[in-house]
């Protein structure tokens, strides 16, 4: 009962979805979107579990006066204030996301800056990761470095200007070469475009085809009940 029913549910759900994929007739035609809707509803319920876990974790810290409990208090207060404001806006403006609801103020002036700043901090991390990892340590790392640098140069107007300078330099050494013609080639940008559209796409496709095969193998293992850690 505790194992066989879940395994049957997995099997039936998956096989139904696969079969329904090929059948436009009712009730199969919209089965996929129906199941995905159901999944969304189920996960809506599970947010209660998430809330339970989060508040319990931090309330315990507050009550036990664990070091840094003040921060936990901030978290719990922020959580409940947000939800209260959300329900209030929902009730008052029909939707919490009405552009003039106070909930949207919270969104615009607190969530947006937090989100964007956290995201923007990536600029710094990309910087330090590149500085550390892109060393001519071995062949693979060197390839990484060279490809990254070429794309970085090709990606900005600076690369264009740099290429123009190279053209002028070549012109100075070999006077027969026309600067304009060389500039028009846009060396770095062309290299970037080529790198992105051929080798990168090729590797992406190879990885992707492999992922599709691996995914099918994984799915079959799940459907046949060979892989069942998810219900350990």
């Amino acid at each position: 009962m505790k194992r066989s029913v879940p395994l049957t549910i997995v099997f039936v759900t998956a096989v139904l979805l696969i079969v329904a994929f090929f059948i436009p007739h009712k009730p199969f035609g919209d089965l996929q979107s129906r199941f995905l809707n159901w999944y969304t509803i189920v996960s809506g319920f599970t947010f209660l579990l998430g809330l339970d876990s989060l508040t319990r974790h931090h309330l315990v810290r507050v009550f036990r006066r664990v070091e840094g409990w003040g921060y936990s208090l901030v978290l719990v207060l922020a959580l409940f204030a947000t939800m209260a404001l959300g329900f209030y806006s929902w009730f008052k403006f029909q939707s919490p996301f009405a552009l003039r609801a106070p909930f949207m103020w919270l969104y615009t002036y607190m969530i947006i800056p937090l989100q964007s700043t956290m995201f923007a901090s990536l600029a710094f991390f990309v910087f330090s990761a590149a500085y550390r990892a892109f060393r001519i340590r071995n062949f693979a790392a060197t390839l990484l470095l060279v490809a990254a640098c070429l794309v970085m140069i090709g990606n900005v107007p600076l690369g264009s200007a740099f290429w123009h300078d190279i053209g002028s330099l070549v012109h100075a050494i070999i006077p027969g070469v026309s600067v304009d013609k060389l500039t028009a080639l846009e060396g770095f940008a062309s290299i970037k475009d080529w790198l992105m559209s051929i080798p990168t796409a090729a590797a992406g496709r190879g990885i992707g085809i492999g992922l599709a095969l691996g995914g099918i193998a994984m799915s079959l293992r799940i459907i046949l009940g060979i892989e069942r850690t998810y219900m350990s």
Partner: protein, 393 residues
């Protein structure tokens, strides 16, 4: 009818020709395709400077339950269109309908003859998906064959995956330093195969952590994944005879917001200073924020994801990275039973024949392109194969 034709001829607007109406194929019913051809003067316009002709503005499609009366307009289409799929919510399957198309200009209109009856119906098989069906059946069948062979005990070799071998070292080092272990599924949902593939790895890590009495932290972004992770960790501890070691507080929920999650995990990393970090699951842009923070506290980091766009960052910031499908195969390495390895072998078998087929087709295409004058048939065969391999959606 005759009158309208006569009127149209008088001012130069002729009705759309060759009107057809048939059931829309490969759908779940409730739709009829109406096609027509543009009346001649729209094409002749430029060559015949006839001032009395007003340019065609578009077409109107009408539908009725009767051949002669009760027509209602269902759509108005631009002059360039020659087809309309009527999927009005009032349309019922099994009911005969009649259609009529009208060409109109700013001042005038001209109606076609009535076509019909046409009955819409639902189909039991989408014929445009035949190639996908065949491919799916062949692939699944090959997997099943290999499973059968594996069950019978055929010998299987599998190569090493560096990232997997490193798990034990990482755990050992964290224990030596007396630091906790951090495991993250990223933003994965339970419907993501990579999350299901990462659960056995969590199980293995949890077992080791119970063995070494090292704290294991699993912050989550999805409550369902959290539930599955709690079960997995608890079970692993119980199996190691340490059910007391389980603390639900360590396998908890943070937030499902992408960067909120990253901020929370970063906070945990900065304060707990884990000795080993495992990034196994589905990651988006937050991957590098977390992995760089992990590096800054000196943790050994091991990553694996199916999200190709994030692999470069893990490769740059982590000590070991499982690329692409390696993480999907990982559970077979943890449980090297014949039946698990059979699916891996099947995967390789399909991969091999895929490469052979692709190569053969590409060579055929190359020869066809070179000998396109002498042996045109080669090109035709090539194009047919490519067309067949291209899926309709």
């Amino acid at each position: 009818m005759i009158a309208s034709l006569f009127l149209a001829a008088l001012v130069g607007l002729t009705p759309p020709g060759a009107v057809t109406a048939r059931d829309n194929p490969n759908d779940q019913g409730g739709a009829v395709v109406v096609t027509w051809t543009a009346p001649p003067q729209t094409q002749a316009d430029s060559t015949r400077p006839d001032s009395s002709v007003v340019p065609l503005a578009g077409f109107r499609v009408f539908r009725s339950l009767h051949a002669d009366t009760g027509f209602i307009q269902v759509t108005e289409q631009p002059a360039t269109s020659t087809e309309y799929i009527d999927s009005d919510s009032l349309l019922r399957d099994g009911v005969p309908y009649y259609y009529r198309v009208e060409a109109f200009s700013a001042t005038d209109s001209a109606r076609s003859a009535v076509v019909g009856p046409v009955v819409s119906s639902a189909q039991w098989f989408n014929t445009t998906l035949i190639n996908i069906l065949v491919a799916t059946i062949v692939i699944c069948a090959l997997f099943l064959i290999y499973l059968e062979l594996a069950r019978k005990g055929a010998k299987m070799y599998i190569r090493k995956i560096a990232g997997l071998d490193a798990i034990d070292d990482a755990l050992g080092r964290a224990t030596e330093m007396g630091k906790p272990i951090l495991f993250s599924f990223g933003l994965g949902y339970i419907t993501d195969l990579v999350v299901i593939a990462a659960l056995p790895l969590l199980r293995k890590i949890a077992k080791k952590s119970a063995e070494y009495s090292t704290r294991l932290l699993v912050p989550n972004s999805d409550p369902i994944v959290m539930t599955a992770a709690q079960e997995t960790v608890k079970e692993a501890y119980t199996e190691m005879g340490r059910p007391d070691f389980y603390n639900a507080d360590n396998v908890n929920f943070l937030t499902s917001d992408q960067f909120g999650y990253a901020a929370g995990v970063d906070g945990i990393i900065l304060r707990e200073k884990p000795g080993a970090i495992f990034w196994l699951g589905y990651f988006y842009a937050e991957s590098l924020i977390m992995a760089e923070t992990g590096h800054s506290v000196g943790a050994i980091q091991l990553a694996g994801t199916t999200e190709t766009t994030q692999l470069p960052f893990f490769v740059a910031a982590c000590d070991y990275t499982m690329i692409g499908e390696e993480i999907l195969a990982a559970s077979c390495y943890l449980r090297p039973e014949p039946i698990m390895l059979g699916t891996l072998k099947g995967e390789d078998f399909i991969r091999f024949w895929l490469i052979v087929l692709v190569t053969a087709t590409v060579l055929l295409g190359t020869t066809g392109a070179i000998l396109s004058k002498q042996v045109p048939i080669l090109n035709n065969i090539f194009e047919t194969v490519v067309r067949w391999a291209t899926p309709a959606y």
